[in-house]
Assembly symmetry: C2
Homo-oligomer: 281 residues x 2
């Protein structure tokens, strides 16, 4: 009898890192799939997976679990193109930073295929397999958006995977809640980072950067096609969070310009206490 | 003949870290000065300096170099109170994140005392001697604002100190340029961090934080009295930078709400290229 297998579709930063991190998971064979010859040859040379191939059809037909690690639209297109090619009883999951559009796209899958949306909250400001890193998911939250019909066996499998790759915990939620919150905790942080880099003083500030500047702008050198899709597919929620940020910055500017240090101190104490409470709880 | 000595006035996070980092610097005796008995006893127990004392007058009278490591107003007040107590020929410096008000305050010093404003660009989101860390300044920029009359010997001394404590480089500038740029690279990053924590969703987002959120809000649990002074004393420059940020965020929201992915991609590509250029040069 053949060992069960996990197929990773797309060996970019996340797919490649997931393939490395998954190696040694129970008795599963880890199969990496990509269309790009350079990516495949790098993956083969660095043993990113137990086996690598450009034959998505065969890999999908044999896999017990399929990880879709493409850009958002690529994931939706792949499910549509391969809807009848998945093995009955298998589980399909993804690693995408938005969930509504992905889970909607998963409705093309036949009833014999389970789908659990996934978002391991890890990343880097770089992309591509050459930056893949098996420790990328250490201490990260692994967010899952199961279907009402997802089986306990499939949920348990995802939990064992999350533990194997070193995640801090598994958080189950709905697609709507995921996308609303991620607009705040991830997408808006990326918008802030790029907005900071639009300041006319950017290039004159060399020699004056401290830790807070490096941390805040770290993610600004982002993968433009990927983030254009992520932002566009979550436009409503993200727009609301950016508006809140504009308002909160404006409120700080007003109290600063009022020249009242007591009012500024009170406002800072309020925000700093919220951050401390966030750290402690 | 006695060894030369360096007196550190104020053994908080920065003064304590500087004292530890300075140990072993040439043949200087490192003298830590603080008024708080708990701080002094901690400093003595952990050998933060070669000698610790609450007698600022004697330490200042004997010191060849005095590091003022108090809050901004405390530095100005200390120079005023001890104006006639410094040893003729000595150098006074500080570690404060703003320079205009400090250097203006240094005008009370007699002509026999040199003053070079200093800002080692390092910090932590904590305060107090218990968090002092001798590696705090590793790879940091050390910014100096010398007087036109500052001696080459004193500038060379500061450069050797910067090297001893592990700084990346020494950057010389004017007080005005320092305060304008620091409003952007440090102060505005702190305002953004607290503004992010004012979002109504802060406490519902637990389980959904990734690296970008942790990085961007790291400094939000700030020392309120210290930062109230720093922000207030640089109100004009900081207000301008916050306004730019509001405008840049607003511009991103407008292109997002327009629903034009090509325009969003173009804007993201512009900002990301600026960040990459900043990283490379």
């Amino acid at each position: 009898m053949m060992n069960p297998s996990i197929a990773l579709i797309g060996l970019g930063l996340i797919g490649g890192s997931m393939a490395i991190a998954l190696q040694g998971f129970e008795n599963y064979e880890i199969v990496g799939v990509d269309r790009d010859p350079t990516t495949l040859s790098f993956a083969r040379k660095h043993h990113v997976a137990d086996r690598v191939t450009d034959d998505a059809e065969t890999a999908v037909a044999q896999a017990d679990l399929v990880f879709l690690c493409l850009h958002p639209r690529g994931i939706v297109d792949f499910m549509s193109a391969h809807r009848d090619g998945f093995r009955p009883g298998c589980l399909v999951t993804d690693v995408c930073g938005i969930k509504t559009a992905i889970v909607r796209g998963s409705s093309v899958l036949p009833d014999s295929v389970d789908f659990i949306g996934g978002h391991p909250m890890a990343g880097k400001e770089t992309s591509g397999i050459t930056h893949a890193d098996g420790t990328l998911f250490h201490e990260a939250h692994y967010i899952l958006t199961p279907r009402p019909t997802s089986t306990p066996e499939h949920l348990a499998l995802m939990a064992r995977i999350a533990a194997h790759i070193g995640c801090r915990d598994v958080v189950k939620t709905t697609v709507e809640q995921h996308d609303n919150i991620i607009a705040y905790t991830s997408q808006a942080m990326h918008i802030m980072a790029v907005a900071v880099c639009d300041d006319p003083d950017l290039f004159t500030c060399r020699g004056f950067e401290g830790g807070s500047f490096r941390d805040c702008t770290r993610v600004a050198a982002l993968d433009v096609p990927l983030w254009t899709e992520l932002f566009s597919m979550n436009r409503g929620a993200l727009s609301t969070v950016i508006r809140h940020l504009e308002e909160n910055l404006h409120a700080y500017r007003m109290v600063l310009e009022s020249g009242d240090p007591a009012a500024l101190a009170e406002k800072l104490a309020y925000s700093a206490a919220r951050k401390r409470r966030m750290n402690l709880e």
